[in-house]
């Protein structure tokens, strides 16, 4: 019963320490108050919740936390980067945008990159109705919690007919001084018509305590636009990440997402895509590699609302040691969405008997003129391939690493930014050799 009380402790703390300045312009006070009420009644998700059937938060929310405040912003060594070229670098410390540490020198004219409190009235009126439009605070406790506590969300606004050449790189850094910290970064991205943009998210942490990030993003993809989105989730400091991304696509646009998750005590990704208008395309690729006692959970939803859209999804997992991997992919085809083509595939390699993989590919189809399929496989290293390599003088360890790398590269090779792909390959090689 001790555990239960502690859970209530953190929940209570998050509810009682909630405050909102009603007079500030861009604070969405009524939305945030509604969100905290919802969180307070829902509580943290448990295994009884179908969406959290395979992922338990109990060992994490059992700990005492401090809620990240703005004052904790300190200098952070951002010299090492997974990108070689200069990018638009946006640094977030414990969920708060750190403008001094960021580099927006390459920002093209007309695009807006700033927190809600600093954007002008004209831009604010444009985005006001979009904030919170894609999230569900009534049933999703983690999103409600983020919505309540995200005091100053960050906006990326790309006006019509703009092509953003440099990559927009979000660096989420968690910092703590010997105590556990929970933080709430929140991003809103709106692209106009005929735009093109590349987004990269990377994660890092400092400090001996536990870092728990609850990150929620909303992305509006405009007509005829292209958004390429990369997430590289690798934090050797055993931090916890909840990452929900909600995307809505307009007509004839393309959104592609590539999520690579390697290290972290617990990572939960919710990736929800709504194909709201005709003629759009979605590509989702994911690679998750777990070790030790780590836990990585990928939930994706592709919701086909209108006809003539295409979606393609491939997620691969390598599960090692005593770790757990979860994949839950859902394709929804609404009654209106005729001529939909939707494909989904999930392939997993289980390397030990103490590791677990839980996969649940779902199809929910209400239109008849569609082609939809999904497939899921779970297996292990091909012993014949291992023998082949060893008979040519390659040590078992290297042979294993080679085969795993080949398995993983199917996803990594989809990354079109050369420098990013190369540095991920190097890290992957090191990771698989151990």
């Amino acid at each position: 019963m001790v555990a239960l009380e502690t859970i209530t402790d953190l929940q209570e703390k998050l509810v009682t320490e909630f405050h909102v300045d009603k007079n500030a312009r861009a604070n969405f006070s009524s939305l945030r108050e509604k969100a905290i009420k919802s969180f307070s009644s829902l509580g943290f998700p448990t295994l009884r919740n179908e969406d959290w059937k395979y992922t338990s938060l109990s060992s994490i929310i059992n700990l005492p936390y401090e809620i990240a405040g703005v004052e904790q912003i300190e200098k952070f060594d951002s010299s090492s980067s997974i990108l070689k070229e200069r990018s638009i670098e946006l640094v977030f410390i414990n969920g708060h945008f750190a403008s001094k540490l960021s580099d927006t020198g390459l920002k093209p004219d007309g695009i807006v990159l700033d927190t809600f409190s600093r954007i002008n009235d004209e831009v604010f009126s444009l985005i006001k109705s979009k904030y919170g439009a894609l999230t569900n605070i009534d049933d999703n406790a983690m999103v409600a919690l983020n919505t309540a506590h995200a005091s100053d969300p960050f906006l990326v606004y790309i006006p019509d007919n703009t092509m953003v050449e440099p990559i927009i790189h979000f660096k989420f850094i968690s910092q703590n001084k010997d105590s556990n910290v929970i933080s709430f970064p929140r991003i809103l991205i709106i692209t106009g018509k005929n735009t093109e943009v590349k987004l990269l998210e990377s994660f890092g942490s400092e400090g001996s305590g536990m870092n728990f990030s609850n990150l929620v993003s909303e992305i509006f993809v405009g007509e005829n636009s292209r958004v390429e989105h990369f997430k590289f989730q690798s934090d050797p400091n055993e931090s916890v990440l909840f990452n929900e991304t909600n995307v809505v696509q307009s007509a004839s646009c393309k959104y592609s997402n590539n999520t690579i998750s390697m290290q972290g005590k617990l990572i939960r990704n919710n990736l929800n895509i709504v194909l709201q208008e005709e003629g759009s395309e979605t590509e989702l690729f994911g690679l998750f590699m777990t070790k030790d006692r780590n836990h990585i959970d990928n939930h994706t939803l592709v919701d086909h609302v209108k006809p003539n859209c295409v979606s393609n999804e491939l997620y691969k997992g390598i599960i090692n040691d005593r770790s757990t991997g979860v994949f839950n992919g859902k394709i929804m085809v609404r009654q209106d969405a005729q001529k939909t083509n939707a494909f989904q595939s999930n392939k997993n390699m289980l390397l030990t008997d103490t590791a677990t993989i839980n996969t649940k590919p779902q199809l929910e189809i209400f239109a008849d003129d569609v082609k939809c399929s999904h497939g899921a496989t779970t297996g292990q290293l091909d012993m014949e391939a291992m023998f082949y390599l060893q008979s040519r003088g390659i040590s078992p360890g290297n042979a294993k690493a080679m085969l795993l790398e080949a398995f993983a590269n199917e996803i990594v090779d989809k990354i079109k930014i050369d420098s990013l792909r190369d540095s991920i390959k190097v890290m992957l090689g090191d990771y698989l050799k151990v």
Partner: protein, 481 residues
Amino acid sequence: MAAKNKILEEITSAEYKYGFVTDIEMDTAPKGLNEDIIKLISSKKNEPEFMLEWRLKAYKYWLTMKQPQWQNVKFPPIDYQDSIYYAAPKQKAALKSLDEVDPEILSTFEKLGISLEEQKKLSGVAVDAVMDSVSVATTFKAKLGELGIIFCSFSDAVQEHPELIKQYIGSVVPYTDNYFAALNSAVFSDGSFCYIPKGVRCPMELSTYFRINAANTGQFERTLIIAEEGSYVSYLEGCTAPMRDKNQLHAAIVEIIAHKDAEVKYSTIQNWYPGNKEGVGGIYNFVTKRGICQGDNSKISWTQVETGAAITWKYPSVILKGDNSIGEFYSVAVTNNYQQADTGTKMIHIGKNTKSRIIAKGISAGKSNNSYRGLVRILKKAENARNFSQCDSLLMGDTCGAHTFPYIEVNNSTSKVEHEATTSKIEEDILFYCNQRGLATEEATNMIVNGFCKEVMKQLPMEFAVEAQKLLGISLEGSVG
């Protein structure tokens, strides 16, 4: 489009041909459910003390449970006090031959096309027919008895073989398993019992036929099949009900125990009344079916053709406990009008080198919803376990839905699990190809649907395969244009 709609309307008008009521005097218990009713059922059946105790335990447990909500089906809450839990054709003396059976009942079964007489003579199928709650007749009992095979109604088994019942009842599906299993365990009235002794290969197909006849009754039957070492049995089950406006509940349990080297094949054709085309009435078919491959090298195979019932909610499962044991699940589920089906299987791999195979075909038409929900769980010690699953859905019309919810949980690194699913409609170019060769669209559709289901149909025993194909034809008459 207009032609398409017209054809779609035609299917919805396909009538339920088993919707007749047999006028027989019924011996029914009062409406409602309480301890007294359970005691009444138990005493009517002259059961030994341990059965009553077990029923009451199940009932008490049931009272603490809530009806599950996770299925992908919608229905108004069931009033469990508004049902009759025991209804028997009024006729008491024990029966030795068919001549003693009420001719009214016999003619009911004749209308169903399963004339006991005919089957007895021609097909050599031993039939145990259950009407409402009581087993009416069991054919071939004596002949099977020579081989040591026990095939009788559940009530007779309780009287004649209480030690077997006591040992096995609830051993695969305990009353704590789920809401409807607990309800069934408390109030079940009859069913079939089958015991195949060591090394015996049952020479004929055993068959049960279930029919709900009385109004406002729930049918709660229970089937128990025990296959001793090295034995084999093929078991068939069929179900129908007359048309009624009210929804009737059918909550059955089937338990199968396969010992070392034994093989059990269980086939079902379910054709309960699906409700009318506005979705009024019909049977709620909430069934728990599970088998356990207890011994090494044993095999359990489920085949089902589900065309009826307003709501179908069932997952015939296999627990693969013995090493090298095999579990199979073949299913065709057809839904039309407002029918809802949430069906699939569970394969639990415990032993080494266990294999399972799942082939599920769903066809949805009208305003129906058809879901496949399945679980494949490989436990840590299940070395070299192997699973292959394939579920395909065919959609006819844009007002129906097809859904797939596979759960795959793997804890062993030497196992291989594959899952595949596809959803589509009948391709226009395939239809065009058939039309071009002089086949009418309707004929062509029939051919394509039969081809789509062939992998499952060929698993059915001969007698059933014919009936199943006819049923498919009726439910999908002219369904695609």
